[in-house]
Structure formats: C-alpha cells, structure tokens
Symmetry: none
Amino acid sequence: MIITETTVREQIVATADRLFYAQGYNLTGINQIVEEAGVAKASLYYHFPSKEDLCVAYLQRRAEKWSAKLQKFLTGTNDPRECIIKCFECRSEYLIENNYSGCSYIRIIAEMPQRSKKINQRAILNKEGQRRFFIEKVKELKNTSGISTVDLANIIFLLFDGSTMQSQVYRDIAPVKNAIKALKVLI
Amino acid sequence: MIITETTVREQIVATADRLFYAQGYNLTGINQIVEEAGVAKASLYYHFPSKEDLCVAYLQRRAEKWSAKLQKFLTGTNDPRECIIKCFECRSEYLIENNYSGCSYIRIIAEMPQRSKKINQRAILNKEGQRRFFIEKVKELKNTSGISTVDLANIIFLLFDGSTMQSQVYRDIAPVKNAIKALKVLI
Amino acid sequence: MIITETTVREQIVATADRLFYAQGYNLTGINQIVEEAGVAKASLYYHFPSKEDLCVAYLQRRAEKWSAKLQKFLTGTNDPRECIIKCFECRSEYLIENNYSGCSYIRIIAEMPQRSKKINQRAILNKEGQRRFFIEKVKELKNTSGISTVDLANIIFLLFDGSTMQSQVYRDIAPVKNAIKALKVLI
Amino acid sequence: MIITETTVREQIVATADRLFYAQGYNLTGINQIVEEAGVAKASLYYHFPSKEDLCVAYLQRRAEKWSAKLQKFLTGTNDPRECIIKCFECRSEYLIENNYSGCSYIRIIAEMPQRSKKINQRAILNKEGQRRFFIEKVKELKNTSGISTVDLANIIFLLFDGSTMQSQVYRDIAPVKNAIKALKVLI
DNA sequence: TATGAATGAGCATTCATTCAT
DNA sequence: AATGAATGAATGCTCATTCAT
C-alpha cells in the first residue's frame, strides 16, 4: 500500500522534526523518536543510514516549512521594503507558533562545533538562501543610505539572525520588534 | 592544603571550560573532563553537585574572560562611539582566538531549550550585562538618529549577537565587520 | 528465465563464499552479502531459508574448489607417496592463494561450538572425505613403518589439519613445509 | 572491602572465560556476560575498556589454566620422552573436562581473521610458549630420527594442534590418541 | 522469481551519578 | 579533600528474518 509505505518514513521525519526542534538534537535519542513515531528502530535505520542523515532531513523540512510560511506571508506584497519587513513579521509569528525555538540551523551549529560535512553543507545552503532573499529585495530598493547593496543586505541578515536567537533566549518577540525598528531606519 | 584544594577545582573548571566551549556541552562527557583534568571523577562531584553546576561555573568563567579582554581593549578610550566600535573589534579578536566558537551563552541555550533554572539565570544575567553596557554607552552618545536610546542599544545588541553567531556559522569574522559597518551608519 | 535465476543464486553463493572465508561467518552480516552481491535481501531468503543454509552452500563450494584444485595437482601422479606429498604442496598453494584463511570447515566449528545439525553433517562429511583420501593412498603404499594403515592415515590427517591451522595462525606456509618433512620420515 | 573489590573483576573474567570458551567469542554478548556474572554493564567497562580487552584477559586465563594443569601432570616426570607424551595425555584430559572446546587461541584466530593487534600478540605469545616447551624437551632427547631438533619439535607441535582441533570437530579424544601413536614412532 | 519495506531483539559502548573508604 | 569502584539507564546502531506485492 503506497499510503503505508509513505507513512513510516514521513512519520519518522515528522517526529524527529518535532523533537529535535523542541529538545535539541543531542538531547533527543533515537529511542524516543521511534517510540513516539510508533515505528521499529530498524525501520528508521532503513530509511536513514544514521542519526546525522535524519538530521539533514530535519533541517530540510524546517527550511521548507519556513519557506512555505514566508511565501504565504508575502503573497500580494510587491514593495521590496514591505517584503523585508513582512519577513521579520513572519519570523515573529513563526517563533510564537514554535514556542520560541529559534533557528534550527543556527542551533545545530551551536550544538555541534565540529559539525559533519553533510550537516554543514545543508546549513550553509539554507543560510545562503536567506541571505540571497535579502540581497534580492535590497536590490529592488531605492537605496539612498550610502551603504552598498550587499552590505545593507548583510546587515539586515545580521538583524534577522540576531533577533531570532535573542527571541529564543528571552522567549519573547521583543527582539524581532527591535529589529523591525532598525529596518525602518535603515531602509 | 588550600593550594591543592584550589588547584583541583581550578583544574576541573579550566578543563570543562575548554571542552564545553570547543565541543559543546552535551557532547562533552564527565569522563573526558576528569581524564583530561587528571582528577578523579568523585573529586569533580565533590566540587560540583552535578554537570549542570559545572556548566554554570563554565559560563561564569567565560563571562570573566570576555570582560577582562574587553576592559583591556577599552583602556584609554573615552569616546562612547569609539567604545562601542571597539567592543565589536574586541569580539572579532576573541572569536579568532577561540576558533570561532561563538557565544557560550547563546550556545548553551541553543543546546538546552528547556534549560534549567540555574543555567537560565546565569545566561540571562550575562546577556543583560552586555545589554547594559550598550545602553550606558548609547546614553553618553549625542543620539541624533531619531531612535530612542534603549531602542538603539537594543539594535546594537542584536548586531552583536547576530554577528557573533554568524561568525561561528561561517568560521569567519566578516559578519562582525558588517556589524561595524552598520554601527557607522547608526551612531 | 532460468539464466537469471541461476545467476542470482550463484552471485549470492559466490559473495557469501568470499566474505565468510575472508572475514568469518559470524562477522559477516546478511546485509553485507546482499549489498556486495547486488541482490535484494528477500532474494537471498528465497534461495536460502536461513543464513545457516547459506553457510552449508558455502562449505560445499569450498570443498569443490579444493577438490578441483587437488585433482589438477595430482594429474599424472600415480605413486601414492608422491600423491600424499603433492596433497600437502597443493595445500600450501591453496593457502597462499587464499590469504592464509585456513580450513573453512575447521573454522566454522571453531566459531560455532554448538553447531547446527546441517552444518555439522556437512563438516563431518568433508572431513571424512579428506581422511578417506589419505586412507586410500596409504593402502597403496608398501607400509613398512609398523603402524597400521588406518593409524598412519590418521596421523597424516592430523599433520594436514595441524599445518593448515598453524599456517593461518602464523600467516606463513612454514607449518606445511614441516608437515612435509614429517611425511618424508613416516612414509 | 578487598574481597568485594577483587570479586567483581574476577567474576567478570571467570564468566567471560566460561562463555567465550563454550560458545565462541562472537556468539557471546556483553549482555550475557554481565547478566551471568551478576554485575552492572558499566562495571565491566570500568575494568575492561572493550570486549577485545576482555578477550585478551580470557586468553591469558586459559593459558594459565592449561599451564597449571600441565605442571601438575608433569610433576615427578623427568624423562623428556615421557614428558612429551604426558603433555598429550594432559591435553586429552583437558579436552574431556572442557567439553571438547579445543584450543582457545586457535579458535579466536579462526573467528577473527583480521584479528586485532592485542589479540594477535597474546595468541602468538601463547603459541610460541607451547612450541618452546616442545623444543626444550626434544633437545633433551637422544634424537636418532635423522630430523633436526627444531624440525622434530615443530612436527610434534603440529600433531598437538591438529589433534586438539580434530578432537573438537569429532567431540572425541581419538585424534589425541592417534597423535600419541605418532609420537611413539617419532621419538 | 524477485524485491522494497518493515520488524523485534540484540549489539558494544557511554552516560551522569553515587558509594565506601 | 580526594578517590577507586560500582551502577542503572540510555546511547547510536546492526542483527537475521519476514511480509506484502
């Protein structure tokens, strides 16, 4: 049955996503994942050669969830300045919805300083995707700030990561609001 | 003998500091600490009731190291604008010296989302200390940006954490340089 | 298609033979066999009800390989004394060719003390075949040693197994050479 | 209490010895050992860094048991020829007492073709000890066989290992008896 | 005949912590 | 103040086997 077939793998990723994001990667054991996913341990290892590979799938999934949410948020908005601000507002909502769990990518890197190649690749890929988004939007702006386009985008990116991280620290969206205040000065 | 007593405790904290910061808290086992510190496991538990308490000592030690470094960096500088920029330059140096290991506080929170009271307290204490530093310096500025003093300090703080974190991600100080570029526009 | 059918089975046995002999039976997993054989796990279990049955096929294959090699070695030799010595020389060559992996039968028994009936049967069958070879050759000898024919054959058989085993231990054919020296005294 | 302290380690080695020898190294799990020894798993790993190290202790123990038995067997015998024969008779008794489990060293090598350095060292050490025993005794003989002393010792050694191994295969001491028959011709 | 997917039981090893001395 | 020894629980992962198709 195709339904069942899809379900086991999907169930594993969904559970891993939930637990890794809520508890952290290292504090979440394979045991807990398979238990809560309701599958056999060997089934997990059939689909994912190692916990690390499951982590990559988790990170990918997080990126997709965020992308989908952002896309929906931006629908109908054309003004680049508005888009950038909406991106931060979207972040705010995302953080509230996800119990202030911060950025999955940044957290993985914080957890695993000597991170594996697979995970590092996936993380950099995502971060660069975010940076590209800001660069594209800034390019569309009439940039009168005297800062170069790329520099401005990078600064916005710093505010994005900084506020995401601080919102986890304080379990509050105030840092994101502060970042938006900065945006209103910068762009 | 007080000398010996101090030495063992000190040896434990120094080793824990090194390993927690380099490898991450969860990836560093008590075994490795006592082995590399050259002390008995039970000695560690004599001085620290739990790994968590050792973690608090580690965080405190990190804060002290950073403070000392910053103080030295700021010696002779009176201009608040200069002080803030120097703080970021100090960060840059700190990150290079410490193999781009980022901020110990942020990393602990990234690792342990449901963090313990002790650790949480210690982390917030440190973060608030950093924020206070920026607030004080901004107060001394002739702030003509149209943003309130506290808001401006908070934005600088966002750039501080954002650039610290991104420098760990990219293993490069470019993000700190970008933050300094932002400072030069904002203050 | 019969061709395909034979090929898959053959591929499985060939791979199992190679791995069991090189790595040992217990250290070789079904996973590795099917991977290196390039077949599905369920295909293996279609042809062999269990790992044990695959082991029996492996042992049989080893016996056939040895027999074929010995037969070629003995071609043209009629003198029974010469035949026995050639058998040891053949062993020497076999061990070198097979990276000093010893006797598959003896190793299986060393690995599985409470061996299964199937495997035991197959092993004893082979060992008795080897003993019979020596008995037949000794019968053809003008035995003037004062030892009975069967006893003499059994002693030669001891030298055969002893030297095969020791050559694995030392990864050297010296033990086989020593056995041949003994033969030259005994027969 | 010294008694308790000694007991745990001793209990572990004794159990490992019994199980490794009876069931084989690879077929005996750490779980079974700690269960039957009545100790915690972590206690085993406190005393032995790995299963491999436990294996080395097992091999050493086997050697000591055999040595002690042989020594007792040889007490009062001075004639070297008699000593060699008694060594085989001792083997016969040893095999019966130990349920025809063969030679622990040879079996370990049969199980682990790519054996570890530690285990290999220990195994070779033991085998060379056995060979030395035969060499020493043969030197004391009035050797009139026309074979060199070392060659003769090596041949006896082949008979020793061959008969030990075959007695495991057949679960019978007949092979050892055959070896003794050979001795009576050779020396 | 062949296979992709699933499984329960087991693997060797490490975890943070505690106890007796 | 310091330690060697002991522990229960959990770690990530692999085992031989089976099922549905």
